[in-house]
């Protein structure tokens, strides 16, 4: 009986900690983790995993590799969190790590034609995968149109030059401010605005024939 009560107490205490962590901002969660609260790291993972996956996937265009890179981001965060300058935003730091890993991946691909071929082949095979993101209640022709549009959009983004694409995704998908993008991409504000302008214009031009 005493054991059951103790287990319940622990569960309640655990739930309270988790709720308290959920209510905290990133900086406080980081402080909690560095103070020895291991569950704080899970909270950080929960907050960022999907956002990072989308960011990396839109940047490199390979879903499986994107997941690997997101895992690598979290491993690096875990390893180096004690060195993180807490006067800065945690999200900017995480996105900087993710952006650098994505950049390295693209660089490796361009150097290694075999990797590029495997990626292209994988994407080609993905054509046969079941529809995952569309509403299953939609009509088949509607689903086809949506999927087709999604592919066109993804292809159009992939056609943007790497440094334009990075800025474009951070702004349009992640909603980062110009200042944050400048910090993540290690550019000045003027360069960020100029790249964003060019990326928007190029993207609009590429996609125009399909949507007009």
């Amino acid at each position: 009986m005493a054991d059951i009560v103790r287990k319940q107490m622990v569960a309640v205490e655990g739930a309270t900690v988790r709720e308290r962590l959920q209510a905290m901002d990133d900086s406080a969660v980081v402080t909690a983790f560095l103070g020895g609260e291991e569950r704080a790291f899970s909270e950080l993972v929960t907050r960022y995993q999907t956002r990072l996956l989308n960011f990396v996937y839109r940047t490199i265009g390979d879903r499986e590799k994107a997941e690997d890179l997101v895992q690598e981001v979290f491993i690096r965060v875990y390893r180096h969190l004690h060195r993180f300058d807490r006067s800065k935003k945690f999200s900017t730091w995480v996105y900087t790590i993710a952006s650098n890993l994505a950049k390295n991946e693209l660089r490796n691909r361009s150097r290694n034609p075999l990797v590029l071929f495997q990626t292209v082949q994988k994407n080609f095979q993905d054509e046969d995968r079941p529809l995952q993101f569309e509403d299953p209640n939609s009509r088949p022709d509607d689903m086809y149109r949506k999927r087709h549009l999604r592919e066109i959009v993804e292809e159009s983004v992939a056609k943007l030059p790497e440094h334009h694409r990075n800025v474009f995704i951070l702004r349009e998908l992640e909603g980062k401010s110009y200042e944050e993008i400048a910090e993540i991409t290690d550019c000045n504000l003027g360069t960020v605005k100029s790249r964003l302008n060019r990326a928007r214009n190029s993207f609009a031009e590429i996609i125009a024939p399909y949507v007009d």
Partner: protein, 178 residues
């Protein structure tokens, strides 16, 4: 406002970060310029499509894989920390042992009865009296009169023996006919 200025400020216009007056100027330009209005509409439509792209979801095994990797990371770290701690302890122990050994050797050598170096009486050396050999060279007047080739060695010898020869009042004539 001209089209160039419109394009330059279009990013801020789309993001709605322009100041009030600039915003009004941009809107007025759109109303007047069909080409810029078209460009603006095209960009906004494209962005709307991109922003509404369905998000990618994580695969089922993602969390487990990450957990396993983090666990490995933790264990790796623990193992590394333990190894480093053990190495540090080993190093300290080895240093202490070396110091003890050196101390022992030094003490043993200091107190040992090994034969010391023999002390010899100091050697007193005295300079022997220089043997005064009879001068074999001629007087300066004779040296000056002989040919250049023959005077080299007697002159050198003479110069060497100057202190003794000049102190010696008795000079002899060289016998060239020997």
């Amino acid at each position: 406002m001209d089209c160039r200025e419109f394009c330059d400020k279009h990013v801020a216009f789309v993001d709605d970060t322009l100041a009030g007056i600039e915003l009004v100027r941009m809107q007025r330009h759109i109303a007047e310029c069909e080409s810029c209005a078209k460009h603006d509409a095209r960009v906004r439509r494209a962005l709307l499509i991109f922003r509404n792209l369905p998000p990618i979801e994580l695969s089922a095994g993602f969390s487990q894989r990450l957990e396993a990797r983090l666990l490995r990371e933790c264990h790796g770290e623990d193992f590394l920390a333990t190894t480093q701690r053990n190495l540090r302890r080993g190093a300290i122990a080895a240093t202490l042992a070396s110091a003890a050994m050196l101390g022992y050797i030094a003490t043993t050598l200091y107190h040992s009865d090994s034969p010391r170096d023999l002390v010899m009486p100091p050697v007193v050396a005295s300079l022997p009296e220089p043997e005064l050999t009879p001068i074999t060279t001629s007087t300066p007047a004779i040296v000056a009169s002989v040919s250049a080739g023959l005077t080299i060695w007697p002159a050198a010898l003479f110069a060497e023996q100057v202190p003794t020869r000049f102190a010696h009042s008795k000079l002899e004539l060289a016998n060239y006919t020997r």
